[in-house]
């Protein structure tokens, strides 16, 4: 499946190989993996909106496929409690040429960051806090002229 929301971890190699297995028309695979940063954060909890999340991710995938010639797209987002260093999110794109694969992967992340219904809560020594949305994410999404 191109889009998955899950508690379990995933394996980047397995996901990349799933995009290219059995075909020889793919020249470029780009992947983005988001990790939980530590510092004063001891744990991160990912909440989401079941039902709408999958729908939003599928729309994001569809929009990317409309804009670029892609041989494959994978989006995985984990939910639940995650420790520092853990993988949170993974997007991968497969294309004939690298420029397309890079651009589409960046687009997927920018779109996901501003459109997919996930919320992060960080636990620190001072208690738990909800992560604030970053203005730079809106700026990043805006450059794709999203409707």
């Amino acid at each position: 499946m191109a889009v998955r929301v899950q508690e379990e971890d995933f394996d980047p190699t397995t996901e990349l190989e799933a995009l290219s297995v059995g075909r020889d028309d793919i020249g470029a695979l780009v992947s983005f993996t988001g990790l939980v940063r530590g510092g004063d954060v001891s744990e991160m909890v990912l909440e989401h909106y079941p039902g709408m999340t999958e729908k939003a991710l599928e729309e994001i995938e569809e929009e990317a496929r409309k804009r670029w010639s892609l041989q494959g797209v994978t989006i995985i987002h984990r939910v639940g409690p995650l420790a520092p260093g853990a993988r949170i999110v993974f997007v991968a794109t497969a294309s004939r040429h690298r420029a397309v694969a890079f651009e589409a992967a960046e687009f997927l992340m920018d779109f996901l960051k501003t459109r997919a219904p996930f919320w992060k809560k960080e636990s620190t020594a001072d208690g738990a806090r909800w992560v604030d949305a970053r203005e730079t994410d809106d700026t990043a999404a805006a450059r794709w002229a999203l409707e």
Binding site: M52, A56, K113, T114, A116, P117, A133
Partner: protein
């Protein structure tokens, strides 16, 4: 109509979802929020700053002017922070 709340909005209101029957005339997201604020102080506190609140009607993100007439599910939540 089913209402869903997420993240700090869920925490402030105290529940993740509830069934409501808004009165006649409450037919937009904005009107729904104003009506909720009249119900109990916890709603008034939760919706004090509506500029930071996002909404999805039947799982499609939209804005406060959107109609809720015939909607099955209205979700209210802070700006998303996934990825």
């Amino acid at each position: 109509m089913k209402l869903l709340y997420f993240a700090w909005l869920r925490e402030r209101i105290g529940v993740g979802s509830e069934e409501v029957s808004p009165p006649q005339g409450v037919d937009t997201v904005g009107a729904l929020i104003e009506w909720l604020k009249t119900r109990e102080p916890r709603y008034e506190a939760a919706f004090a700053q509506t500029a930071a609140i996002k909404v999805a009607v039947d799982q499609e993100q939209t804005d406060f002017d959107a109609s809720i007439v015939g909607a099955r599910e209205v979700a209210l939540f802070p700006p998303v922070t996934g990825g």
